[in-house]
């Protein structure tokens, strides 16, 4: 299903200090149920929107962006003032950024393609949609 992508496609953290813009179409979006994403979001699963690195423009708040290396070579960036997780960057995939869908202002114009790391999914969340489920991660 395709829907209209908001133009411009922008996003921000909870306090509004960190703001970004995505130029052009995102590559894909998916739900991640891994333990790290659950702890980083505090939620049942994370919503990750993959975009090309050069398409992600930080418009404001660079000085407030904090990063945490959650696994070797992978940094999760969040707003140091309000805690919103904004995006992650991995050295293994320098041309990609994984933006947190909940920070979007509008509609990315695409829908999640599936659930990943469901082998680690939270005890209280049952996946009740028709999307494909994968025990492992996106590249596995």
């Amino acid at each position: 299903m395709t829907t209209a992508r908001s133009s411009p496609l922008t996003g921000r953290c909870l306090c509004g200090a960190v703001r970004y813009r995505i130029h052009g179409a995102p590559l894909t979006m998916y739900y991640c149920h891994c333990q790290q994403c659950r702890r980083a979001s505090g939620a049942s699963f994370a919503t990750n929107l993959l975009v090309r690195t050069e398409s992600l423009e930080l418009e404001a708040g660079a000085e407030l962006l904090a990063g945490f290396e959650s696994s070797p070579g992978k940094r999760r960036h969040f707003c140091s003032r309000c805690g919103s997780p904004i995006f992650s960057a991995a050295e293994a995939t320098p041309s990609l950024r994984s933006v947190r869908g909940g920070t979007l202002d509008g509609d990315p114009g695409l829908r999640a393609v599936g659930h990943f790391h469901v082998a680690s999914r939270s005890a209280w969340f049952e996946i009740r949609d028709e999307l494909p489920q994968h025990a492992g991660g996106l590249g596995e």
């Binding site: 829907t3 921000r12 953290c13 909870l14 306090c15 979006m29 739900y31 790290q36 659950r38 702890r39 980083a40 979001s41 505090g42 939620a43 049942s44 699963f45 994370a46 919503t47 904090a66 945490f68 959650s70 999760r76 969040f78 707003c79 140091s80 003032r81 309000c82 805690g83 919103s84 997780p85 904004i86 947190r100 869908g101 909940g102 920070t103 979007l104 509008g106 509609d107 990315p108 695409l110 829908r111 999640a112 939270s122 005890a123 209280w124 969340f125 049952e126 009740r128 949609d129 028709e130």
Partner: protein, 133 residues
Amino acid sequence: MLEGGCLCGGVRFRVTGKLGPAGFCHCKMCQRATGSAFASNAPARTRYFEIAKGAELVNEYESSPGKFRAFCRRCGSPLYSRRNDEPELRRVRLGTLDGDPERRPLAHVWVGSKAPWYTITDSLPQYADGDVR
């Protein structure tokens, strides 16, 4: 007793009483605070909620008047929220729990604000706003 903590392990907490009813909140603030489609929270009585380690790492952000969202300043994990007008409760973010809270979410709230890209596919009750009466 339930235990939990942030992603980096710096903050650890314990819930020594029962968790209250859990819910999925789709409000825009929770979307931004989780970076995801909805938050998954359950209340614990403040006297049964304790920070076992890393209190100095807990930052609070006042997201609306008198409501504070606590997170780890080292890794960003959202931990709980508290309200000045509800001092007896801490709303715990289920994603930070170690194990199975055994509570299951009972409803979706603030679905009037839900993300345009997310479809609720379960049969739990849905409430347009926070009023679940």
